[in-house]
């Protein structure tokens, strides 16, 4: 799980350098943590031979992160809704929901094998936050 902590720390640093407020920093950091955990746990299924690839970029207009695994692939549209009454007491299934809640854009790309998530947090432009 060291890689997850590294991703979390790097996301926190980038978010802080971009001037995000405390809530947004928390959201970005948690979204990246969830994405990295998904990649290691559900994507690569803890296989030490498989890697996750993570990229970070501040484009000036947004923070853009990608997290890729080498697993069997993820079909995001088939995931159960964790807010549905019949799913509320499930012990798992909230990671992707949290990522979507905390980021402004989330994109999935199938890599054959693997899945790449692109997570985007828009940055307020000068004068936008009055």
């Amino acid at each position: 799980m060291e890689s997850v902590s590294e991703v979390e720390a790097a996301a926190e640093k980038l978010a802080a350098e971009a001037g995000l407020d405390e809530d947004d920093r928390f959201h970005v950091t948690m979204a990246l943590r969830e994405a990295a955990v998904n990649a290691v746990l559900h994507g690569n299924e803890y296989d030490p031979a498989k890697r996750i690839a993570v990229s970070f970029e501040n484009t000036g207009a947004a923070l853009v992160f990608t997290v890729a695994d080498q697993g069997k692939g993820l079909e995001p549209d088939t995931l159960p809704d964790p807010l549905a009454p019949e799913n509320l007491l499930r012990g798992t299934g909230r990671g992707i929901f949290l990522i979507r809640s905390f980021m402004d854009e989330v994109h999935f790309r199938q890599l054959h094998p693997g899945t790449e998530l692109t997570l985007v947090k828009h940055l307020a432009q000068a004068g936008e936050k009055a």
Partner: protein, 114 residues
């Protein structure tokens, strides 16, 4: 910071004072073991004091839910006390606020088990 758990008894209620993070690999397993241990020893009324827990990930949320259902299945009850703003917001976002009985005052939380 990993999770630390201290246990105390107040008027027949077991209060677990949690401090740190409840996340995959850092606190989830400790919480699971602590709750299962209490339940196996016959504890029915468990109050989780989350006042010093400032970070819970999806795994930690799942562990809270599992603790809740484990206790319920054994005829017991788990309630939550003193949520930080971040944890409160997470429980609201995930609708788990509707599952748990959440208290912000220990004395009334203890009394509510009777």
């Amino acid at each position: 910071m990993a999770l630390t758990i201290a246990s105390r008894e107040v008027d027949g209620v077991t209060v677990l004072d949690l401090s740190g993070r409840i996340t995959l690999g850092e606190g989830s397993v400790q919480l699971r073991d602590a709750v299962r241990d209490l339940i196996s020893k016959g504890a029915k009324s468990i109050l989780l004091n989350l006042g010093d827990v400032n970070y819970i990930d999806s795994s930690g949320l799942g562990e809270l839910v599992s603790a809740f259902t484990t206790a319920k299945n054994q005829g017991g009850e788990i309630k939550l006390l003193n949520l930080t703003k971040k944890v409160h917001d997470l429980l609201q976002l995930t609708k788990l606020y509707t599952v748990f009985d959440i208290k912000d005052d220990e004395a009334s939380a203890i009394a509510s088990f009777k």
